[in-house]
């Protein structure tokens, strides 16, 4: 009986191709819209997280000035900068650190042969590569001697290599920075755009003493990057850093910090929070199309009630049992709805894959949203395909036949 009802249902689907197609279309549009929107939104969130992670893991950034309060940039003025002695103190007095890298950045024009390029030159130590999760694509990092003496050697980012050297091999070549020249000892592996749109590869890295002497003209350290070995230690390290620096900067109990320790996790949270809100917004918009799709299904099913009621009357009159008729209509609704749902999921997968390529965000198959939108629209399809049939099958055959 189940098999013959199944055949009957398939015959009905084929017989009413237009109606079947419209029912499926409603489900397909609803399902694929919701899935695509949510998948892309999640991809965007993931992309932001990846970018922040590319800054380095378990990273604390120490800058002068108070934390992003008051007028923009206002906090930094007047606050004394750090020194290499501060960096040494941190390295010696705080445990559980993977790297402590001082930083001083200056903008400069770099020239090689006939090409020139405006970039930022960062003076630091080998710890910089650990803290920032940088990999060396070619060449080497600084030697101890080069760091101590502040020799003019440098590593360049992918953007500089491309702009100045094109297809040539730059390691061992010399690079002119403002009015002095330095030897290129290595190339950094590309990291791409940072979260704020800054090109992380547009950089030249030099021993900090070289930058202090040749570009800055003082012994200041503008910021310190601290990489913590274990994520669990971040809170402790932050507290110890704060009290150590307060002591070294001779701040009394009544004084506010004139520096700040920024946890990159906080940046991650703030940014992914924003994209998550956007994802929810997109999902809400897409839910409307799911709803409209659902209403479309209802319409088509309800409009065909008159015709179907007569049909049910005919079937009952020639000896079909109520349950046979119901089973047929139920199977028809299930077949149509799940077909629509499956096509919708397929279409959404294709659309998400294509759009995530275009938008340059990672694609992940989200089981939850696929299941949810499939069940929702298929549920509507089954409900509104089945309910009118159920009512009609309860009628006396003669009443069903007379139905106008």
């Amino acid at each position: 009986m189940l098999w013959s009802s199944f055949l009957l249902a398939l015959r009905e689907v084929r017989r009413n191709l237009l109606r079947s197609f419209l029912t499926i279309l409603g489900i397909v549009i609803g399902v694929s819209a919701v899935i695509t929107m949510v998948t892309l939104g999640n991809g965007a969130t993931q992309a932001v997280k990846n970018q922040v992670a590319s800054l380095g893991s378990n990273l604390l950034q120490i800058r002068t000035g108070q934390r992003m309060m008051g007028p923009p940039g206002g906090g930094a003025t007047g606050a004394p900068s750090f020194s290499l002695e501060d960096v040494e103190a941190i390295r010696n007095q705080i445990s559980g650190l993977a790297a402590v890298a001082p930083e001083v950045s200056k903008s400069a024009t770099v020239v090689s042969m006939s090409n020139n390029w405006s970039t930022s030159v960062t003076g630091t130590t080998n710890d910089f590569f650990i803290a920032g999760s940088w990999k060396i694509a070619a060449g080497r990092t600084f030697t101890d001697a080069e760091e101590k003496a502040g020799q003019t050697v440098c590593l360049i980012g992918e953007t500089i290599r491309k702009e100045l050297f094109g297809t040539q091999q730059p390691v061992g070549e010399s690079l002119r920075v403002n009015n002095f020249s330095c030897e290129i000892i290595g190339i950094l592996t590309s990291k791409g755009q940072a979260s704020m749109g800054r090109d992380q590869d547009d950089t030249v890295i030099m021993p900090i003493k070289a930058v202090q002497r040749r570009l800055a003209g003082n012994h200041n350290v503008s910021s310190i990057q601290v990489s913590v070995k274990s994520e669990n230690d971040i809170t402790r390290v932050t507290e110890e850093l704060t009290s150590l620096l307060r002591e070294r900067r001779r701040l009394g109990d009544d004084k506010d910090d004139n520096f700040n320790v920024l946890d990159t996790r906080q940046i991650t949270e703030a940014l992914s929070g924003t994209t998550q809100i956007l994802t929810m917004l997109l999902a809400a918009v897409a839910s409307v199309s799911l709803l409209v799709g659902g209403i479309g299904i209802m319409n088509i099913m309800l409009v065909s009630v008159t015709e179907r009621t007569r049909e049910i009357g005919i079937r009952l009159a020639i000896g079909a049992l109520e349950r046979e008729v119901l089973l047929q209509f139920l199977i028809e609704a299930v077949v149509l709805s799940s077909l629509g749902g499956a096509v919708g999921v397929g279409l959404a997968t294709l659309a998400s894959l294509a759009l995530s390529q275009v938008m340059n965000v990672p694609y992940t198959f989200n089981v939850g949203i696929n299941l949810l939108s499939f069940v929702f629209s298929a549920g509507i399809g089954v409900l509104f395909g089945y309910m009118p049939a159920k009512r009609a099958a309860r009628l006396d055959p003669i009443d069903a036949l007379r139905h106008e």
Binding site: M1, S4, L7, L8, R11, R15, N16, E307, R310, E311, G313, I314, R315, L316, A317, I318, G319, A320, L321, E322, R323, E324, D396, P397, I398, L401
Partner: protein
């Protein structure tokens, strides 16, 4: 001839209380196997109600209905459906074919519910279409057929299961005179050649003349029940 149908004191009341309407007032009737009965009467005389009860589509409020000695009034909805499936064939005034479905598939429909194989269904439907003179029209949908042809398809659907009795509710109601006479000739041949008992409701005296027996309903009662002498004598001569 053996008795196929017997109605004993059949009453049918529609609605309840003040709004109730008594359509049949204790009808008694018996129909022999192989008979051709026309039920006539003005609108509201109860002829359609009687037909629905005879066709096991509706149940009487009171009284007994014996179909081959089975008490139909005591059967459940599903049992009546099975009775219709195996012993009854229906022809309606409005044809009631499935739209956008070929004549062949329409005729096969009752066999689907009897669980017959697709090969058997196909052969039986073709035979039934041949009997009603529509050989080769099986692939046409109702919209492509004339009224007379549609009613022939409906008759083919009714006889494809080899029913004991064929119930026709105003089978010529939507047809012109010429086509009506063709349909009546078809019903007559089914009755005479295949021995199918035919029960027909009509309000046209010309059509009733094809029947062997004519029953008149007035106000929910049988007013007259006569043998059609003309046709009997005509047949005995032939």
């Amino acid at each position: 001839m053996s008795t196929l149908i017997e109605l004993r004191d059949i009453t049918k009341i529609y609605g309840q209380g003040q709004a109730s309407f008594k359509a049949l007032h204790g009808v008694n009737m018996s129909i022999e196997q192989g008979d051709f009965v026309a039920i006539m009467g003005p609108s509201g005389s109860g002829k359609s109600t009687a037909m629905n009860i005879l066709g096991c589509l509706d149940v009487p409020t009171d009284g007994e209905y014996l179909f081959s000695d089975v008490h139909v009034e005591a059967l459940s909805r599903n049992e009546r459906a099975l009775l219709r499936r195996h012993y009854l064939g229906f022809v309606f005034q409005g044809f009631n074919l499935l739209a956008r479905t070929s004549a062949q598939e329409n005729v096969e429909l009752p066999l689907l519910y009897r669980g017959e194989s697709s090969l058997d269904r196909h052969a039986a439907a073709e035979a039934a279409l041949r009997q009603v003179g529509l050989e080769g029209w099986g692939h046409h949908t109702p919209a492509e057929l004339s009224g007379g042809q549609q009613q022939r398809v409906a008759i083919a659907r009714a006889i494809v299961t080899n029913p004991t009795i064929l119930l026709a509710d105003e089978p010529t109601g939507n047809l012109d005179t010429k086509t009506s006479n063709e349909i009546m000739a078809l019903l007559t041949s089914l009755n005479e050649d295949k021995g199918i008992t035919v029960l027909m409701v009509t309000h046209e005296p010309d059509m009733a003349e094809y029947a062997k027996r004519i029953i008149h309903f007035v106000d929910g009662n049988i007013d007259s029940d006569i043998r059609n002498r003309a046709i009997d004598s005509k047949r005995s001569v032939a």
